[in-house]
């Protein structure tokens, strides 16, 4: 993914390299310590998924129980509900969220007025920087039972609509929140891709008599293809993380039946319920499957002749 900065083969002995680079190595130390403590140590800590973990005994003294925790998960209907919800929500998000920023970018790109374009971008980026708590609160204040939309409905003599508490329409609510928060932000990358399109292509096509739609179809969309594939891959690698905070925050109001996802299952089983090992097993399963999906999607992209995220060696 990153262009490799292959060390120049200077043939210097280690001591000489050290004399040359010791300051740089010093600069790396805080970051490396951080990675070891807050990433690699927890990654190793996943061994509790293979233990009957007892907090007062600690990792060192808890008993190993092999794959028992995973077997327990397999037999746990709540886990399957969480998995089903996760996949359902991920599918809905992929179908209903993914195209929105592309569409927005196409419209914004076609705007002639730069001022309008800047205004819209300023407004559209803003929600990305708001916390999920804030977003869910704003939705609740707008669409909740006592929110202002339902206030208006009541004033108009209509029945209030339970936007925020109906488990059946919860996936739609979740996507609406996601679109509200991130569609504008996700648009940036498509806009940037559109600015790199060679304008002479448009000129040539226009000269050949291609209309608006033909140019969109034959020039604009193909030039977005690489970016679209890249983002799809990243999304697939992340498919099991549908949005932790969003669900934790709304689990109470719509109920776990609709809002329990793998992450919230891990949290409630492990941290809240004290069943650390099941929680860790669910979390580990999720992490491994996510990494495999990412890898799989990327190699598929290579096979289809797209660059993907990880450049293959020599490619």
């Amino acid at each position: 993914m990153l262009k490799s900065t292959k060390p120049v083969k200077t043939g210097l002995p280690l001591a000489a390299k050290w004399r040359r680079d010791w300051q740089m190595v010093l600069l790396m130390i805080p970051g490396v310590v951080f990675l070891l403590v807050f990433f690699y140590l927890p990654v190793l800590g996943n061994v509790v998924a293979f233990q009957d973990f007892q907090p007062y005994l600690g990792i060192m003294h808890s008993e190993w129980n092999g794959l028992q925790n995973f077997v327990n998960l397999y037999d746990n209907p709540d886990f399957w509900d969480a998995l089903r919800n996760t996949l359902l929500l991920a599918a809905v998000q992929l179908l209903l969220f993914f195209p929105v920023p592309i569409g927005l970018a196409l419209i914004v790109d076609s705007l002639v007025s730069n001022r309008l374009r800047r205004w819209f971008q300023t407004i559209a980026y803003l929600p990305h920087f708001l916390s999920w708590v804030l977003v869910v609160t704003l939705f609740q204040q707008s669409l909740g039972g006592a929110g202002f939309v339902n206030n208006l409905l009541r004033h108009a003599g209509l029945d209030p609509i339970p936007f925020m508490t109906n488990p059946d329409t919860f996936p739609l609510l979740v996507v609406a929140q996601l679109v509200w928060k991130d569609a504008g932000w996700a648009m940036i990358i498509f806009l940037a891709a559109l600015t790199t399109v060679d304008v002479s292509l448009y000129e040539a096509a226009a000269a050949d008599g291609a209309g608006r739609w033909r140019r969109l179809w034959h020039i604009t969309l193909p030039s977005l293809r690489t970016v679209i594939v890249l983002l799809l891959i990243l999304r697939i690698g992340d498919i099991l993380s549908v949005g932790f905070e969003q669900f934790i925050l709304q689990r109470d109001s719509v109920g776990p039946g609709a809002a329990e996802v793998l992450d919230t299952f891990t949290y409630y089983a492990g941290v809240v319920g004290g069943d650390w090992s099941s929680g860790a097993a669910a979390g580990l399963a999720k992490g491994v499957v996510g990494a495999l999906l990412l890898w799989g999607a990327n190699s598929l992209a290579h096979r289809l002749g797209e660059p993907g995220i990880f450049q293959r060696r020599g490619a």
Binding site: L104, F120, P127, T137, F139, S142, E245, L249
Partner: protein, 291 residues
């Protein structure tokens, strides 16, 4: 000047575009405006309007005075400000140092780079993270909000990509003049990268300011709650604050107070971000595409 292929759009298309973009923008702006208006409304405005106010007829800062007068809310604001400032400073220092050191072909540069990139692939999971934080004795400490967030791989990639594009000749000549690597980073590389550093700083600051789940996970002590957890508990879940927790008697209309909490969570971000907005694209592109 309008290029040849951008002929005047047909009115129908123009109307559709205006509808889509205008609608999207309004849906974003209206809830925020209602919240701000309601937070500024007087008790009478709120009672007259039956809850929400589109335009306060007698604007008052009473709700904000209550928030900033101390009590649970006042402390939460201090906590959030502290975590954001200290967290951003630490995170920037760690990330800049690591990104600069790995942006040059140096000893250990490659394995360290791979160490960071691997974090993009795999997340350690909630339970092991919790156990580590607990083992380090950081539970119920504000450091539990700061330290785990001190290095974001995405921000690292953005900075590193930018540092790699600083011409090597520049650094070489400084080195010949006797500058140390620390000096080069501070006097040459960082001043050249001010805009990117500002954007990455914003990304970090937003992360720390918005930290909710970590606070929920690691902090039991209500006196250490940041604004986001207060927002969840007293606005989203609708628990009411007692006059004692507020430190003010008598408390103002709950509606305006709640909305003031929302605004407090929102305003700092809305204030910084317009200044950095024009640099976003660059940061996001270097991070996402090239990364």
């Amino acid at each position: 000047m309008r290029p040849v292929w951008k002929e005047n759009p047909a009115p129908a298309y123009q109307a559709i575009k205006a509808l889509v973009l205008g609608g999207f923008a309004l849906v974003i702006v209206i809830p925020i405006l209602v919240v701000i208006s309601t937070s500024l409304a007087s008790d009478k405005d709120i009672i007259d309007a039956g809850g929400y106010v589109l335009w306060p007829s007698h604007p008052t800062f009473k709700a904000y005075q209550t928030l900033f007068s101390g009590g649970l809310m006042g402390r939460a604001i201090l906590v959030s400000v502290f975590v954001t400032l200290v967290g951003t400073a630490i995170a920037l220092a760690v990330t800049i140092a690591l990104a600069y050191a790995t942006s040059r072909p140096v000893l250990f540069g490659r394995p360290v780079l791979l160490m960071v990139l691997f974090t993009l692939l795999f997340a350690p999971g909630i339970i092991p993270m919790f156990l580590v934080v607990k083992q380090l004795g950081l539970l119920d400490s504000l450091w539990s909000l700061i330290l785990p967030g001190a290095l974001g791989a995405f921000n690292f990639v953005v900075l590193r990509t930018f540092f790699m594009n600083v011409p090597g000749e520049l650094l070489e000549s400084a080195r010949i003049d006797g500058a140390s690597d620390f000096m080069i980073l501070r006097k040459i590389v960082m001043p050249l990268s001010k805009a990117v550093i500002a954007v990455v700083g914003l990304f970090y600051a937003v992360g720390f300011w918005n930290a909710f789940f970590n606070a929920l996970l690691y902090l039991n002590d209500t006196s250490k709650w940041p604004v986001q957890v207060i927002l969840r508990t007293y606005v989203l879940q609708g628990k009411s604050l007692s006059a004692d927790q507020l430190g003010v008697h008598p408390p103002p209309q709950p509606q305006s107070l709640q909305m003031a909490v929302v605004v407090v969570a929102l305003v700092p971000i809305a204030m910084v971000y317009p200044f950095l907005q024009r640099h976003f694209t660059k940061g996001v592109i270097t991070g996402a595409v090239k990364g």
